[in-house]
């Protein structure tokens, strides 16, 4: 499966944020999306997630038999950096509701507690209202709900930055485990994280997406290459 972005354009007023992005993302990989502040990473995600209308271009899904169709909202799981969960439900109720809605889409559904175990959410927290969850726990819930439905594409916007080291490591391992079934696009400012977790590095600069090839470079060489690429674009 592939996600094909063709000539994606988005303007805000006179400001062209995305200037005709052409890129193909493939299943089984984690893509590290790097870009400077204000480069348009969130705009790019919002376009994919249909939160904002695009000005021009096509967003397509190509399945393994090379059939193309339009990208739909249900293809996407979007984990935003500030965790958002319905405050008035308990963790268990939220999962129950989610599983009922998506039961047809989920193969071999597990029990609610199995999902909690998978996400390492403590027993005593499972029946608390989500409004009383800590930041890290809310983040886990949000991530869990997004991966249970196995959306084809997972968009992660700085999801690990505010987590403590243990939870962050758990999440990293979890992402590596699930990547074979998904296209994962991971937006971050932390280069070490991008290099250690992601299979490919993509930079968004000057409104265009560009892949930075590793070509057997070590981490330091790769970092320098990324930085110079980001700076270069600035001078265009």
């Amino acid at each position: 499966m592939k996600l094909i972005v063709e000539n994606l354009e988005k303007k805000f007023g006179k400001k062209e944020v995305l200037k005709g992005i052409n890129f193909t993302f493939e299943k089984g990989k984690i893509y590290g999306l790097l870009g400077r502040n204000g480069a348009g990473k969130t705009t790019f995600f919002n376009c994919l997630n249909e939160d904002i209308d695009i000005d021009n271009g096509n967003l397509l899904i190509e399945d393994d038999t090379n059939n193309k169709r339009k990208l739909e909202v249900v293809d996407i799981g979007y984990v935003v950096s500030t965790p958002t969960v319905p405050e008035f439900l308990t963790g268990r109720e939220f999962l129950k509701f989610f599983l009922e809605i998506n039961e047809k889409k989920i193969d071999n559904i597990k029990t609610i507690d199995e999902y909690f175990d998978f996400m390492k959410i403590d027993k005593e927290d499972r029946d608390k209202l989500l409004k009383d969850y800590s930041h890290g726990m809310k983040n886990k819930m949000q991530m869990l709900v997004n991966i249970i439905a196995k959306p084809n594409i997972l968009l992660l916007d700085e999801p690990l930055t505010s987590l403590d080291v243990v939870v962050a490591e758990e999440m990293k391992q979890m992402l590596k485990e699930i990547k074979k079934d998904h296209i994962i696009i991971f937006s971050t400012h932390i280069m070490d994280l991008a290099l250690s977790l992601c299979d490919d590095i993509v930079i968004l600069n000057n409104g265009i997406l560009e892949q930075i090839d590793r070509n057997n470079l070590d981490d330091i060489e790769m970092k320098n290459k990324i930085i110079s690429a980001l700076k270069e674009e600035e001078n265009v």
Partner: protein
């Protein structure tokens, strides 16, 4: 000290000029023409500076003119006591109240924060020099108006000249007291959030100022002279304390907090927290339903404080009012005919009543803050099918809950009509009932549809579109104007029913078509 003052004045002015340019940039058409580099433009800086100077000068004089003209001089006509005494009495007590409410020193403004904490200016020098400036502004600003209005009120010219010094001394004395409180107990005063004892003193002062002349007691010129000379002497001693006080930086660290400086933002956060606190944490709440019914059911149950419980309360209160009215009509014949007339001609009045008791607006706000702002980030929740399924459940719940008080009122009105002498046209009974029910359904549907079509919030619950507010305001104004109309119930009732039915059908149709597109988090 003088240098510090000049620097801080420049800083404040720069910040003011930029605010002025920023405001100019907010004007819809102009903002498209003007570039961001505007803040560098010399001409605009000059214009900004001129406005800023005019602003500063008018802040010295204008407020004081309005204050003395409206709150003191303008009030004198209400009293029969002699003019100089009335003027002096009101002036004295309002001055005492004002010295507590308007201190300069304890007003948490951003310019203080910028100067002392961001620019790291010397807190003591900064505060004292600016305080002297503020006090001078008080004296200079008051002088022309105590003279003009004082002389008109037949007050001795010497006393007129003394009055501004009295005001300044009162402020200085209170500031000294507050500084001393901080030094001894570490409690600080925020003039924008007065504590209870300040409110009490202000209340007493207002009462004495406006009340004493009413009962014929006023301060004579001699009494005022003695009071003000004493105050000024004490004030002079207090200046020494203010100059010696050494903990300005520490004190402002407590006063200039984010919360104190951003009153508006804090209020918004308060609203958000309040709504979050409406969630009922009772663990026994559960639901046997499934999918969206389950989701909606739990939402309604966990928000019963603002939904079912509140509707029940309204229903019970309505019931009591209805019983009360019936009871009084049985005792009093004039009241009886009046009520009968009201029911036959003033159905529009109940449009407003039904608007007020409808929970729709509060509920949609809670829906967003406690539910949709998070759920709308999940793709399964945003599919047209999901949006419409939940919309249907919500319409049912909101209409149902609001019907509770509506049925009580709808049944109560025909009964009252019957008790107060009835009507020739029997349809009036039916129309009263049906039209009240229709109004209730109308408002329930209306609020939810506005929310689904014009959802105004972004992910941080900040309002991003004013269309929703404008629509709500128009609804309010319409109800308010209708409320004063008089029309035979039979016509207005039939009109209301037809309107409500058509509105509900058409708007539901529109919502079903458009909501999947419009019900999004604003970006």
């Amino acid at each position: 000290m003088f240098n510090t003052f000049i620097q801080s004045f420049k800083l404040r002015n720069c910040y003011k000029v930029n605010s002025i340019i920023y405001s100019i940039k907010q004007i819809p058409l102009i903002k498209r023409i003007l570039p961001d580099s505007l803040y560098k433009s010399l001409i605009l800086k000059i214009i900004g500076n001129i406005i800023s100077i005019i602003w500063e000068i008018s802040s010295i004089f204008l407020g004081k003119l309005i204050y003395i003209a409206a709150m003191i001089f303008g009030m004198m006509g209400l009293y029969t006591t002699n003019s100089s005494g009335t003027f002096l009495t009101i002036f004295t007590f309002l001055t005492i109240a004002g010295s507590l409410m308007n201190t300069y020193m304890f007003n948490p403004t951003k310019d203080k924060y910028y100067a002392m904490f961001i620019m790291r200016m010397d807190a003591k020098k900064y505060t004292i020099s600016n305080y002297i400036y503020a006090i001078l502004k008080v004296i200079v600003g008051f002088m022309p108006f105590t003279l003009i209005f004082g002389l008109i009120a037949n007050i001795n010219i010497g006393i007129c000249i003394l009055m501004p010094f009295f005001v300044a001394s009162c402020k200085i004395i209170f500031s000294t007291y507050a500084l001393n409180e901080f030094e001894r107990k570490k409690v600080y005063i925020n003039e924008n959030k007065p504590v209870r004892f300040i409110w009490i003193i202000v209340g007493i002062c207002l009462l004495l100022g406006y009340g004493l002349p009413y009962v014929g007691v006023t301060l004579s010129e001699i009494v005022f002279l003695v009071i003000s000379i004493l105050t000024i002497v004490v004030g002079i001693f207090c200046i020494k304390y203010i100059l010696k006080f050494n903990k300005y930086r520490e004190m402002y660290k407590s006063i200039l907090t984010e919360d104190n400086m951003n009153a508006k933002k804090t209020a918004e956060k308060q609203v958000k927290d309040n709504i979050l606190n409406q969630i009922d944490i009772n663990e026994k709440i559960s639901s046997n339903k499934k999918r969206f019914k389950y989701f909606n059911d739990l939402f309604i149950k966990r928000h019963s404080k603002i939904l079912l419980k509140s509707a029940k309360k309204t229903a019970v209160i309505s019931l009591f009012i209805i019983i009360g009215v019936i009871f009084v009509t049985l005792l009093n014949d004039t009241f009886k005919t009046k009520i009968n007339e009201l029911l036959m001609n003033s159905l529009p009045f109940f449009v407003f009543v039904m608007y007020i008791i409808n929970r729709g607006q509060v509920v949609t706000q809670a829906m967003f803050m406690n539910c949709d702002h998070s759920m709308l980030t999940y793709s399964f929740y945003k599919t047209p099918k999901s949006i419409l399924l939940l919309f249907k459940e919500r319409i049912k719940s909101i209409v149902g809950i609001n019907l509770l008080p509506a049925i009580v009122i709808g049944l109560g009105l025909p009964i009252i009509l019957y008790v107060t002498g009835g009507t020739d046209n029997i349809y009036n009974y039916l129309i009263l009932f049906v039209s009240i029910i229709c109004m209730s359904i109308f408002f329930s549907v209306h609020h939810l549809i506005l929310y689904y079509l014009l959802q105004p919030y972004n992910i941080n619950s900040e309002t991003k579109s004013s269309t929703y507010q404008i629509a709500n305001f128009i609804t309010y104004m319409a109800c308010f104007y209708i409320y004063q109309a008089k029309m035979p119930t039979i016509y207005f009732g039939i009109g209301t029913i037809i309107f409500a039915v058509l509105y509900v059908i058409i708007s539901l149709f529109i919502a079903y078509r458009l909501a999947p597109k419009t019900f999004r988090i604003r970006v």
